[in-house]
Each structure stands twice: as C-alpha cells, then as structure tokens.
C-alpha cells in the first residue's frame, strides 16, 4: 500500500539558517513525488516535483528537495530560511489505483514550519 510519512509535526528554525522538512514514502513502482505549501486559509501551492532524472530537484522560492531511492526519502530543503517561509508543508506521492490510468495524490499529514526572526 502507498503511504507518505512526515515524521515531524513541527519544525522551528531561525531566519538565515538552513531548513529541512522530512518525508519518506512507500509506493509501488517508480515514485512521482511532490511538495506543496499551504498558507493560512489558502489552498495548496506547488513547490516542486520529482518524476525522473537528477536526484536534486530545484523548485519555487529557493526550495529544493533530494530524492533518495535507497532511503525512500524526499526531504525538502532550503539553504537560508526566511520568516515568510513559515507555513504548512505537505509531501505527496502519486498513486495509480488498479483499474485506473489516472493518478491521484496521497498526502502526508503535513509539517508546520516556523521561522523566527
């Protein structure tokens, strides 16, 4: 069965420090992995995706993620955090159910990132 785990409910970092938000996955076949960000009372905004190719994926707002197949992880990173990065971050994996050719996203529970000045 497919699953996504975000082991930390909350991550706190100081502005200017590097940040990491962790994600591990379990999926049949090759994984399609995504990171989304959600600000209060808003929908989800796409940050980046891994489909194939380089294990280091660069996305929006200076974020990047590293795909590690052996550890089944897809951690989100940023070299220097900003206060404005404070938000809820979701990792997701594409799932293709039996009998369907369309994919859907299976989300983790989310990690609240707080960056203090």
């Amino acid at each position: 069965a497919q699953s996504v785990a975000q082991p930390e409910d909350q991550v706190n970092v100081a502005e200017g420090n590097p940040l990491t938000v962790k994600c591990t996955y379990s999926v049949s076949g090759n994984p399609y992995l995504f990171w989304y960000v959600q600000y209060p009372n808003r929908g989800l905004q796409f940050l980046l995706k891994y489909i194939t190719g380089d294990n280091l994926v660069k996305g929006s707002y200076g974020f990047e993620a590293e795909f590690n197949k052996s550890q089944t992880s897809f951690h989100l990173k940023k070299p220097s955090a900003l206060v404005s990065d404070s938000a809820l971050y979701f990792c997701a994996v594409r799932v293709i159910d039996r009998g369907s050719t369309l994919g859907r996203l299976y989300f983790g529970r989310g990690t609240q990132l707080t960056v203090w000045p």
Binding site: F34, L44, F46, I51, R104, F107, G110
Partner: protein, 113 residues
C-alpha cells in the same frame, strides 16, 4: 490567466442538510479532483472527473457526489451532512494530457453545526 476558482469561500450548514460546492478549473485544464482536508490533516482524495464522468473515487460514502459540466467546471454535493464533514474542501485541476502537478484552488471552508 485565472487559476482554479472555488465558491463559496465559507459555508455554514446544519446537520442533515445538503450542500453544493463549485469549482472552475485553471484555463486549459480538463480534469478536476476534489479533496477533503480536515483540521490538522493532509488532504484526502474524494473523486476525480474527466470528460464529465467520475473516473476515480476515494474512500468516501455515497453521500458525496459530483458532477462535471461541458466547460470542465465541477460541483461537489454532500447530502445528509454530519458534523464530521466539517473541513476545507479543495478542488484541483490538471490537463489529462500533461504531467502533474495539480493546481489547487483556495478551498471552501464548510462548517456543519
């Protein structure tokens, strides 16, 4: 270029009532999905529509139904509302011929009292 738009933004209903939520996909997108996000949880897949048909469904009861119109817009209907249906309902769209990602709207906050 308008993104995914949802209406209304907020809604308060009473247990047992019925509700309809609406979604217009991003321009150029023809596939619409609906997700339920309960407080403190990640979004959960309800169903997906393409070519005016429900193509895929998550683990939600039949009280949840939907529709897709020829202009690709979509509705989510929930009958016999329960307190547990209180959540943020997110609509997402994509092109069926393109790769993901999904593009999400800002959601409809449904409160059932």
């Amino acid at each position: 270029d308008a993104g995914v738009t949802q209406s209304p933004t907020h809604l308060i209903k009473t247990r047992g009532q019925q509700v309809t939520l609406r979604c217009s996909p991003k321009s150029g997108h023809d596939t619409v999905s609906w997700y339920q996000q309960a407080l403190g949880q990640g979004p959960q897949f309800i169903f997906q529509y393409y070519e005016e048909e429900e193509r895929q469904r998550g683990n939600f009861p039949d009280r949840f139904s939907g529709h897709q119109f020829p202009n690709y817009s979509s509705e989510l209907n929930v009958n016999a509302l329960l307190l547990g249906d209180s959540a943020l309902y997110l609509c997402a769209s994509r092109s069926n011929t393109g790769l993901l990602p999904l593009h999400f709207g800002n959601g409809t906050r449904l409160t059932v009292t």
